[in-house]
Amino acid sequence: MDKKLLKVAIALCGLTSSWLVVMPGAFAQSNFPVQVKVYGQHIGSRVIYNYQVVNNSPNHVAAVRIGYDTQNDKNPDNDGPELRTFPPSWNRREFGSAMPPGTVTVPPGWEATAMSQEETLKRALTWSITYDNFQAVIKPGDTLGGMSVTLEAADDSYLNSHALVIYSDGYPKSLTVPIERLDTTAPALSVILTPAALWPPNEKPVTIAALITVKDDYDPAPDIKLESITANEPLEKGDIPDARIGTDDRQFKLKAEREGKNRTGRVYTVTYSATDASGNKATASATVTVPHDEREKDRDDNQERGITERKR
């Protein structure tokens, strides 16, 4: 080939993006021509992972295997499934490579199949066109959703693993990409504790109710947890008698007690977290005060009324 022309061709490759459209093999790993995106949802006690395949390659995508890593080194020794759990009703003897009814959704013209690997307790889940149904492929520039799997409990390997994308044409025939999260925003969380002030400081436990407000852009019911209860004074065993840290505990008791020397009174700080099924976590705290004296209690009461009035 003429060396001058070759140089021109190479220069053009560097200047234009059209090269990327024409030559799929030329993509760097950071510019994946096919993206596999996921978002999770809590529905009742279950977790649903929803997948979307965005095909920016010039080829037709005919299958995507979730939770499968080829390490991109073409070494079959390194290939393997990555999903730690599967719908509990699945077993290979009963279902073979099929998935149990009600555990997956598939787009029209597609099917879902299970994969396991010898001596590997991990699995992979493949969505592919049904046999010879090539009109159902994901065309260049298209996005396909409608692929979901329902689990009994959250499993972040469905969010953090890889996907094997298989083309019905083109070469190489397949591509391994990291699964990307569609939902990267933490839920909006607010906490209001009632009562917010405990008086008199008679050392008796008082029931506190937490009003939690949470909103997420993808997950209708993020997971709520009472993360911690701390105070500005040393706490004793009976000061927080029944709070269940690490659970969705919205009603617990705090002891109406404070040290006499502490002019600010005792301030309990209660922290909750909200985690959506895509793994985004938000925390929010609210306080319960045991005032040092009644004037401060009145001030706290007035502040509370002020807040209420402002809200109105």
Binding site: M23, A62, A63, P76, R92, R93, V137
Partner: protein
């Protein structure tokens, strides 16, 4: 022959075409290549399928297999061993069949259809469709003579109790039910 003339924004060629300099004009052009499936054919392996090889199991696994087959028979059941020792090269061959079928099952190009049929026949021959086996693992205990695959008509619970008595167990009874290794 179809020629795509090279312009400023197009220096690559579509599938089935290759970039080269025109002998007549000196410009870069895309020329149609001979139609050939870009997927490489299967690497030949012989004997295929590799026969059931109990002799190359370790002695403790030979004992365990015999013990389990006897126990199942005495319990009124039947059993069928489908795999025992596997040479590493045969395991790689099985992996290749598996992975190639993965890709070719959804292959649409006409020039790949004969290869697709060949791989599908291979896949069927290894009974990977009728009983979709787990993908072979290259560092499998089979290649060390430390595993066998055995199916039985007995209930899983009964089979597992009998297996304990023969010093073997199923590490993945849900995903790979016939696979036994030593305890």
């Amino acid at each position: 022959m179809i020629v795509l003339r090279t312009r400023q924004l197009q220096v690559g060629c579509a599938d089935g075409y290759t970039l080269r300099t025109s002998r007549f004009t000196g410009a870069l052009e895309c020329f149609a290549m001979a139609v050939q499936c870009p997927v490489a054919p299967l690497t030949p392996y012989s004997p295929d399928p590799y026969p059931l090889d109990v002799d190359n199991l370790t002695s403790r696994m030979q004992t365990a297999l015999q013990c389990l087959q006897t126990a199942i028979r005495e319990d009124g059941g039947t059993s069928s061993a489908s795999s025992a020792y596997r040479p590493p090269a045969y395991t790689r061959h099985l992996q290749e069949v598996w992975d190639k079928w993965d890709e070719l099952a959804v292959e649409s190009r006409p020039e790949c259809q004969s290869l697709r049929n060949e791989v599908r026949n291979h896949f069927n021959r290894h009974e990977l469709i009728s009983d979709p086996g787990a993908r072979p693992h290259s560092s499998s205990a089979h290649t060390r003579g430390e595993a066998f695959d055995l199916s039985s008509n007995l209930y899983d619970g009964v089979l597992d109790v009998l297996a304990v008595g023969c010093n073997v167990y199923r590490p993945d009874p849900i995903g790979d039910p016939p696979h036994f290794i030593h305890r």
